[in-house]
């Protein structure tokens, strides 16, 4: 499917074919708002339930109370969420409107006109000035720059803040700006998609412009909607995608809402309560019908008709259904939403999580999942930029077999190297040239004349800086032309011909004379260099063994640097013969104008150049650990969180970093198991060994970690998924190196499938998928742009804030929600049980003891306000939690909200209901048994009890809590006095009468003492004689008792397993490493897949054990 865009053709049919540039992010229109919003709200089960109840209540025969008692809260809740939606949508509408009505210059009928952005049509030529926002996706046809370049900021699109270079297609090169009005042609491009890195299209200009040749277009020739034009006076372009069909518009979408484990638990408990309710309804319904037939018919004053309508049998059960409907508290969703947004606000406000270096506060994008933070079991972390600072410093290098910087630790100060540069050693100069030019760094001359570098990659930045310090200065870049200066006077000019696409960082450059820079004549090319900058150094070396004497030295260098935790890059080059180039160039042109699989085809063609490379040297770049990373990891590991490191980096570097940040323990305590192999066979054999070792070692808590690389991982995930899952469960630590973004996401998926709560943390674009996949995604707003931070649920400035995020915010959120949700059920059940008991003394007829006003107010006001302030409750101080991170076990294992704690609350509400009911009906017996008074007495008892329950369950009282708890109690009386003074209300004068009676107050205190006494005693007993760890720490904290440092129980080191490679492994030198390039869609799949030899032993093992997959220690 293609679209043909006719440039500047006012009569063409394309104008009708494609939508105009009106952007609409709105979910609703004025007309469909109500039905659509209601439909969305009613797609939730809880809401359907409440609606059903509310509808049943309209049937006056069965309703125990005024329908308003359900309709009121229901409408309130719906109105709140509908208003929120409407407000959001209105804001979207406003911003859309602003964007749509923005004035832009567009060519209409040959004349430049000022029109609104929404009137742009596909095929229009749009003119933009510096700092304008791009209104739709454009294909560039002209810029103010003579080289045909322009710069755009794409922050809104991908979050990257550096400037990107865009270039006009070669066909449009050199067209006079006056003629651009009249340009005609056709752009052949694919149908709209959301891939912002790809645009495989062709441009053909009609005469009189140039020839009739097809000119290939790439993403480099486009500027996309919502980008900003920078450092360029003007550009003009053809609109190809407009309105909601732009790349941005297509990629817009609402991500699936994440549900916390706690929400799932609450839903489960709600389901259980629902079942309980149904049982109660059925039992009472049957009892009611039986009583009606045996007893009520005898009672002449009830005047039961002998013949009832057909639905008579249903009436009593339905009445009980309505009576019991308050068991599921209607306010719980609202309360939860409210406190959750407050948790998120606390994270945003937290002054201790502000990164003072950048002034960047932490931010919770997703406000609904804070509780999950407290229940994290696995953290999957990226390495670069997450654990490390991503501040690269060039440290060492190895050029033609000579090591520089080994003594001083800084190659830039190595006199030997400086001498070599000064003496102009060819190898060194070449090495520096590659360092300086083979990148995308843009040099910017500041006013003082100093050269600043703007780089997309920190590695490139480090290399260019280092080259500059070694007197190879990159001082100008305009488009494809680079200027370098060696030793202050040797100027050279380079032209980039192609950045090849095999993922190895290869680029094709030629040296040109300085005067040639403006001529585009290809014949004047003098020399062609084929330069490479390789991240995957060793593979290049290994997979095409160059008969060079230095190969060995280089691989040793790589080995050595990696052991020091340095990032290594290998630089290589090759000189190209001119005819070889021409031959290749034809193929390249053909490949680059295909529309299908263009990337793949180009890569295939480029492959042909990548051989016989001459290795120039190896660079080593240091990436320092961030502050506090080892401590953070240690604390979180003590808290029982398992860490996996997923990195694209090399194995040795990854292991070294892991060691230095406490990720794995060094030798005697820790153990590393390697899974490797070059064929599928070897991989599975090594995997089988590792799994066996792991099974044996799990009994003794020793730090065992496994290391796997991307290639082995792919095999394991494909063929041994089940066994690998077992390994994943057994292992607390894992290091996965050389993994692709999609593998990162797959690993998250794997852990999620075993019901672990995962947290993924990363900083770069390659972590986005993992972050979105995980239950909680945390982004570090770091140097690699904001892409990860935008996709994440939480963004923090530094890795060390993770500790506070989990231990403080996550834990408190979990505790608070656990209390709040169970309490909500407790208070609803309390009043419901009283209603049920009352039905036993009212002839099982479904009479409601309480009147409608009281019932509604009980759920909405009296009981929800005191509990809302529990968001301020802290069971332990923050310092205490930080000192004893193990306390997080309680949250992880869900010890505070699970069926058994819930049963406790259930029992408590049953007990309290009995106390309130028995005492009320006995104290108010005989001549005092007036219905309204008894009801009010019981309600007062409930209110008093719930105030004391909240008090007893609160661990720390701030003024707000006192205000809410006792203020609420006072408010109860004030509200009831007000209601009691309205003559038309059912409870006219009741509250005044009660408050004057000594009996009332005596009864209230009796209810409180009888209700709270046993609970206090039980709590005290457990607190003192069966204390949980939390209790012990509370006591220690508050009474200032001796706080002993809690040593983690670590077992004694034990003898090494035979197969286990110790940490200090030096990998067999002669191992011929074969690795897959990072880009998974690269065409050169060199690795031959070994046939899947079955391992009978292994498979039977895995089968027998797979049945006993036990989530370690997760069962309560």
């Amino acid at each position: 499917m293609k679209r043909f865009v006719y440039i500047n053709d006012d009569e063409s049919p394309t104008q009708e074919l494609y939508c105009d540039n009106r952007i609409s992010n709105r979910k609703y229109t004025l007309l469909n708002f109500l039905p659509k919003n209601l439909w969305e709200q009613f797609s939730r089960f809880m809401n359907q339930y409440f609606l059903l109840i509310a509808c049943l209540q309209l049937w006056s025969l069965i309703t125990p109370v005024n329908p308003a008692s359900t309709w009121g809260p229901l409408i309130f809740i719906f109105a709140v969420s509908a208003t929120k939606e409407a407000w959001d949508d209105y804001n979207r509408y406003l911003s859309d409107k602003k964007a749509n009505e923005k004035e832009v210059w567009v060519v209409r009928k040959g004349i430049k006109k000022h029109i609104q952005a929404q009137d742009i049509h596909v095929g229009n030529i749009v003119w933009l000035r510096e700092n304008d926002e791009v209104p739709c996706d454009l294909v560039l046809i002209g810029t103010s720059d003579p080289q045909g370049l322009c710069y755009v900021e794409t922050a809104a699109l991908d979050g990257e803040t550096d400037l990107k270079t865009r270039v006009i297609p070669s066909a449009c090169m050199g067209i006079d700006s006056e003629l651009l009005h009249k340009i005609k042609g056709v752009v052949e491009c694919p149908n709209p998609d959301k891939d912002i890195r790809r645009f495989d299209a062709n441009l053909r200009l009609f005469p009189p412009f140039i020839d009739n040749d097809v000119c290939p277009l790439t993403i480099k020739n486009t500027i996309l909607q919502s980008c900003y034009l920078r450092n360029t006076e003007w550009v003009c372009g053809v609109a190809v995608y407009t309105g909601n069909e732009t790349k941005l518009g297509m990629s817009r979408g609402v991500p699936e809402p994440k549900l916390t484990a706690m929400d799932a638990m609450i839903d489960k408990l709600t389901g259980a309560i629902f079942v309980f309710q149904i049982v109660v309804v059925i039992v009472l319904g049957i009892a009611g019908n039986v009583w009606k037939d045996t007893e009520a018919r005898k009672k002449w004053y009830v005047l039961y008709p002998n013949e009832g309508p057909w639905y008579e049998l249903l009436v009593i059960p339905l009445r009980f259904e309505l009576l019991c409907s308050i068991m599921i508290p209607i306010s719980i969703k609202v309360s939860l939403d409210l406190v959750k947004s407050l948790y998120a606000k606390f994270i945003d406000w937290d002054a201790e999580m502000i990164d003072y270096e950048t002034g960047c506060p932490s931010h919770a994008t997703n406000t609904a999942i804070s509780e999950d933070l407290g229940q994290v079991e696995y953290i999957l972390t990226d390495k670069t930029g997450t654990l490390t600072e991503n501040k690269m410093v060039f440290r060492r290098c190895c050029i033609s077999g000579i090591f520089y910087g080994n003594e001083s630790g800084n190659a830039l100060k190595d006199a030997q190297l400086l001498n070599a540069v000064a003496s102009g050693s060819t190898d060194v100069i070449r090495f520096l040239t590659v360092m300086a030019i083979c990148n995308t760094v843009i040099p910017v001359q500041s006013k003082t004349g100093a050269i600043l570098y703007k780089a997309q990659s920190q590695d490139e930045d480090a290399l260019v800086q280092a080259a500059a310090k070694l007197h190879m200065v990159l001082f100008n870049r305009s488009g494809n032309i680079l200027d370098t200066m060696l030793l202050y006077f040797i100027m050279k000019c380079w032209r980039l011909w192609s950045s090849l696409l095999t993922g190895k960082g290869c680029q094709l450059w030629s040296e040109i004379a300085r005067m040639e820079r403006l001529s585009f004549c290809q014949k004047e090319r003098m020399k062609l260099f084929f330069l490479m900058l390789l991240q995957l150094l060793e593979y290049l070396l290994m997979d095409q063994p160059i008969p060079g004497q230095q190969t060995r030295t280089f691989s040793e260098a790589v080995e050595q640097y990696a052991q020091l935790g340095l990032r290594t890059l290998c630089l290589a080059w090759r000189e190209l013969k001119e005819d070889e180039y021409h031959e290749w160039y034809l193929m390249f042109r053909e490949a680059s104008s295909t529309l299908v699989d263009r990337e793949w085809r180009i890569a295939e063609v480029c492959q042909r150049l990548e051989h016989d490379l001459e290795v120039l040297g190896v660079t080593a770049i240091e990436d320092r650990l961030q502050d506090g990373v080892p401590e953070t990891i240690e604390t979180l590991r003590k808290a029982g969180i398992n860490f996996w490191m997923l990195t694209g980096d090399k194995q040795n570097t990854a292991i070294q970093i892991a060691l230095s940040c406490n990720f794995i323990s060094p030798e005697p305590k820790g153990q590393l198991l390697l899974i490797d192999g070059k064929t599928e066979d070897e991989v599975s054999r090594s995997f089988e060994r590792v799994l066996l070792t792991m099974r044996i070692t799990t009994s003794e808590p020793k730090d065992v970690a496994f290391v796997v690389d991307g290639w082995a991982l792919e095999i394991l995930l494909k063929h041994y998924r089940k066994a690998f899952t077992e390994l994943a469960i057994l292992s607390r630590t894992a290091i996965c190196c050389r993994v692709t973004p999609s593998q990162k996401a797959q690993l998250v998926e794997l852990l999620k499938s075993c019901d672990y709560r995962t947290l993924a943390i990363g900083d770069g674009g390659n972590d986005v998928r993992m972050i979105q996949q995980a239950a909680i995604g945390v982004g570090i707003s770091g140097r690699e742009g904001l892409q990860a931070a935008r996709a994440a649920d939480y963004s923090i400035g530094k890795f060390r804030f993770l500790k506070r995020l989990i231990l403080v915010h996550g834990r408190y959120s979990y505790n608070r929600t656990a209390f709040l949700s169970q309490y909500s059920f407790y208070k609803s059940l309390l009043i419901c049980f009283i209603q049920i008991f009352f039905s036993f003394i009212s002839g099982v007829s479904g009479t409601s003891l309480f009147n409608s006003v009281s019932l509604m107010a009980y759920n909405v006001f009296y009981t929800s306000i005191p509990v809302l302030v529990s968001v301020l409750d802290k069971d332990l101080s923050e310092e205490m939690v930080m000192q004893h991170p193990q306390i997080l076990f309680y949250c992880q294992a869900g010890r505070l909200l699970n069926p058994s704690t819930f049963a406790g609350w259930f029992g408590r509400s049953l007990f309290h209901a009995i106390v309130v009911f028995i005492i009320s009906i006995n104290a108010y017996a005989y001549e005092k048994s007036e219905m309204e008074e008894v009801a009010m007495m019981a309600l007062s008892g409930c209110i008093w009890l719930q105030a004391f329950v909240v008090t007893l369950e609160t661990n720390s009282f701030t003024i707000l809590q006192h205000l809410a708890i006792w203020g609420n109690l006072i408010a109860f009386y004030v509200i009831n006095w007000i209601v009691s003074s309205i003559p038309s209300s059912g409870m006219y004068t009741i509250m005044f009468r009660l408050c004057r009676q000594p009996t009332y107050w005596i009864t209230v205190f009796l209810i409180v003492a009888a209700g709270m006494g046993p609970i206090l005693a039980l709590k005290y007993f457990r607190y003192t004689y069966r204390p949980s760890k939390i209790n012990t720490l509370q006591q220690a904290e508050r009474l200032g008792g001796p706080i002993l440092s809690l040593g983690n129980i670590e077992p004694q080191p034990r003898s090494l397993e035979k197969e286990v490679s110790p940490l200090s492994i030096t990998q067999p030198k002669n191992r011929s490493l074969v690795y897959e390039p990072l880009l998974s869609d690269s065409p050169n799949t060199r690795r031959s897949l070994g046939s899947g030899t079955p391992f009978d032993f292994f498979q039977s093992q895995s089968r027998s054990s797979s049945s006993s997959y036990s989530r370690n220690c997760k069962d309560n």
Binding site: F889, L1016, L1033, Q1034, P1042, I1049
Partner: protein, 349 residues
């Protein structure tokens, strides 16, 4: 409840990098945002819990004794008459006795006063096994009609007693229809005891719930006669028996006031009660009792509160002694983190 002043600790001691705002409100807000509001963190220490329970006991037992004393000070004479007032020949079929209008319903009971009873003495009738709280029954009334009479004609809530012969009934509904209609006259010695039947209903009901100008209409005119009849010339606001009856009881056994005797009764007085046994409780096995009772500051005789107070109080004392014993015998060092073993299994067991 468990606020322990001694262990109050402030959480705001941490040094923070936030500038201290001058305004108190701002400081409060920033403390709120940092979740560092000064907080009081009570602990359930043995001393505190034992003291609380002990105090609870020592407060509750005296209150219980006082309450019990007040309740015991109330004298009451309870006489169940529903069974004895049925003539011998109807003993087998009491329902037919009560339904047979030709049989005289008068009955005489003799009550003996055991102790001196001080005025005012309240006369109640007590009904047992009578479900005034039955849903069909409770709902069958119209408060609007009671207040506004025939002007208010939406009496659908009164079903099944909302109209008769096509005309609305005032007061409508089952409650009014089943009005209690036994009557009592009291004779001490030779003279009739004066029984004050005024001001027995709540004043608020008389003034604001039942119309001063609403007269009974078409009441008890149907084929099925329920309970008592009302004088159509007296407005509802003055029909105090009806008003008392319409205050439905929450319990299936209840007393409703009939009147007040405003003279003291001496010990060994004999009171003869002439009563009209009109009201049908026989068909469903309900009991009717006549209660003559004095009153205290707590109301009628009800030992429940006193007994419950004493029970709760003594339980609290026993519990506190048990805890004291436990604490002395088995003192637990508080907050001794040495006991902590961070074993996953230990926690999740």
């Amino acid at each position: 409840m468990d606020v322990d002043g001694g262990s109050t600790s402030s959480d705001s001691t941490r040094v923070r990098s936030i500038p201290i705002h001058s305004g108190q409100c701002k400081a409060f807000l920033s403390q709120f945002k940092q979740q560092s509001l000064p907080a009081c963190k009570p602990v359930l220490t043995p001393a505190w819990v034992i003291a609380t329970l002990l105090l609870l006991g020592f407060v509750f037992i005296p209150i219980g004794l006082v309450t019990l004393h007040a309740s015991r000070g109330v004298l009451e004479i309870v006489d169940r008459y529903d069974a004895d007032c049925v003539p011998e020949e109807f003993k087998g079929n009491k329902a037919s006795y009560i339904k047979d209008t030709s049989v005289p319903k008068n009955c005489t009971r003799i009550l003996k006063v055991h102790k001196y009873m001080k005025a005012p003495i309240y006369i109640y009738y007590q009904l047992d096994n009578y479900y005034q709280n039955h849903r069909r029954y409770v709902k069958s009334r119209s408060d609007q009609q009671l207040l506004h009479g025939l002007k208010y004609n939406d009496t659908s809530s009164c079903k099944p007693e909302e109209s008769n012969n096509g005309l609305p009934v005032v007061p409508c509904g089952l409650i009014a229809w089943s009005l209690f209609n036994d009557t009592y006259t009291f004779i001490r010695g030779t003279a009739e005891l004066r029984v004050n039947r005024k001001n027995i209903a709540w004043k608020s009901d008389r003034d604001h719930k039942f119309g001063k100008h609403v007269y009974p209409f078409n009441f008890q005119n149907g084929t099925l006669i329920g309970g008592g009849k009302l004088d159509p010339n007296i407005p509802l606001g003055d029909q105090e028996d009806l008003i008392v009856w319409m205050r439905t009881s929450a319990l299936p056994s209840f007393r409703k006031i009939y009147g007040r005797i405003e003279e003291d009764l001496e010990a060994d007085d004999v009171i003869v009660v002439h009563l009209m046994n009109n009201y049908n409780t026989y068909s469903f096995g309900g009991k009717k009792k006549l209660v003559i009772s004095t009153s205290s500051w707590l109301g009628g005789r009800n030992d429940f509160l006193g007994v419950a107070y004493i029970f709760v109080g003594s339980s609290a004392i026993i519990l506190s002694l048990v805890f004291l014993l436990l604490h002395v015998k088995n003192p637990r060092p508080y907050g001794d983190t040495a006991y902590l073993s961070w074993n996953r299994k230990g926690i999740s067991s």
